[in-house]
Structures are given as C-alpha cells and as structure tokens.
Subunit: 135 residues, 2 copies
C-alpha cells in the first residue's frame, strides 16, 4: 500500500525489514511519528520500549507481538496493538509469512526508544510456537 | 482491512460513512486517537479543524482533501495528508468511488474538532473537478 522505505538497521533488527517514515514530524507539531514497516518472513526487531508508547495497525501478512515475560500474540491484517509507555516488547513476521504494519509513536517529546538486545532464535521459536497455537 | 464501524453522524457528514475507533485512548496515555473511516461515493465530512492537527493515511479508493480557499487535492491509496492545527478543511470520497483512510488525531489534550458547516454541492463539485484534473 505504501512504498517500501529504507532498509531497517541491523543494529536493532534481525532479518530484513524496510521502514518508510510517512510522517517524520521534524518540527514536532504533531508530537507523533508515523511509519510503515515491512518485515520479510522471520524478520523482527530487538527487544525495546518507547517512553511515549507505540500503536501498531496490521495491514498485511502474519506476525507476532510479545511483551517481556508474556506469551506472544499472533497478529493478522486488521489487528491493532496498543503498547503502553516503557513496556519492553518486540514485533515481527511469522517464520513463513511476510508482515506489514503501520506504526505510530505518540508523545515523541518524551524521547527515543530504548533498546535491550536481540530476540534470540530460541525466544523467537517459542513465540512462533505459542502464536501458532492461537486461533 | 479494518471492520466497518459506526455510521458517521449526519450532523457533520454528508452522505454515508462509517467510523471505526481503533484506538479510543480513553485514559489519554497516547494523547492520540486512531480511527478508520470508510466513505461511500460522494460522502464527505463538513468543514472542520483540529486544535492538535490531523494525519490521514489513504488505504483504499479515491477521494479529495481541501483546505479553505485552496484547490482540492486528489487522494489515492498510499497518500498521506498532514493537516496542521486549526487549518479548516474537509475530506471525502470522489463522486464515483469509495474512499477509506486511517485518521490520527494527535495532541488530543488540546480538545475536540471545531465544525464549520457542510461542504455544499457547489463546493464539492468544484473540488471534484479540480481534483480530477490532477494526474
């Protein structure tokens, strides 16, 4: 739906993903950044949190969202994820399916995301197994 | 992509549209509301403005965006509209095409939209003619 953006940094992503910054809000008048992220199968971002929270709108494919210490949630087109401020989490594609979401980072005046290291293959496989058990 | 929501109020819409409030943000932690709006052909909202601005992400169909005193802009899937605070405008479907956008109202703490009356048939037809001249 939106053009593929820049390749996501391998510093904070595993696998291949693209980020299209739809609303950079450089002057801060919306206090809100909006972007489209396309994940190839198996791609996911590192554990992270946002001081102002984050909202995800799933537009295509199949993926997962997991908060630290919780069971992963399976995501499909039309799903919405509300991630409160400072909640550590990751999101990404299913092993065999691409995944696209719009992301919204509100309260950008509160600062940038904090990053906590990669989602290991073991963590990812456990999340995929949990997610795949959900209807 | 998202479920059709509630029928939009005829107090501030002409024609038929549905609004699905994806992120109500009742407790204000995101300072941001997110919704999906489906317009039937010819449907549009009234002239209005938002004290915190508004962002539109076009996901389907063909429509128009117009600011008071300016030429209407034709909108298609993948287009993004950034509407600064207090700028009077309307958006809606083309005469012969449905139109769907995600809407984001940031800075919700600044208050609700202000409404300035319907987009008349003459205004709408002029906008459609201007928009249809754009490639």
């Amino acid at each position: 739906m939106f053009a593929k953006g820049e390749k996501a940094s391998s510093n904070v992503f595993i696998g291949t993903a693209w980020v299209n910054l739809l609303v950079p809000d450089a002057d801060g008048i919306y206090d809100c950044q909006v972007y489209d992220v396309v994940f190839e199968p198996g791609a996911r971002n590192h554990w992270h949190s946002h001081p102002g929270g984050q909202l995800l709108l799933i537009t295509q494919g199949m993926g997962f969202y997991q908060e630290r210490g919780k069971v992963a949630r399976r995501l499909r087109e039309g799903d919405v994820v509300q991630i409160p401020p400072d909640v550590e989490h990751w999101h990404g594609a299913a092993p065999d399916d691409g995944f696209t979401h719009i992301g919204i980072s509100p309260n950008t005046h509160k600062g940038a995301a904090a990053w906590f290291g990669p989602v290991t293959d073991e963590e990812y496989e456990a999340a995929a197994n949990d997610g795949n058990r959900q209807v």
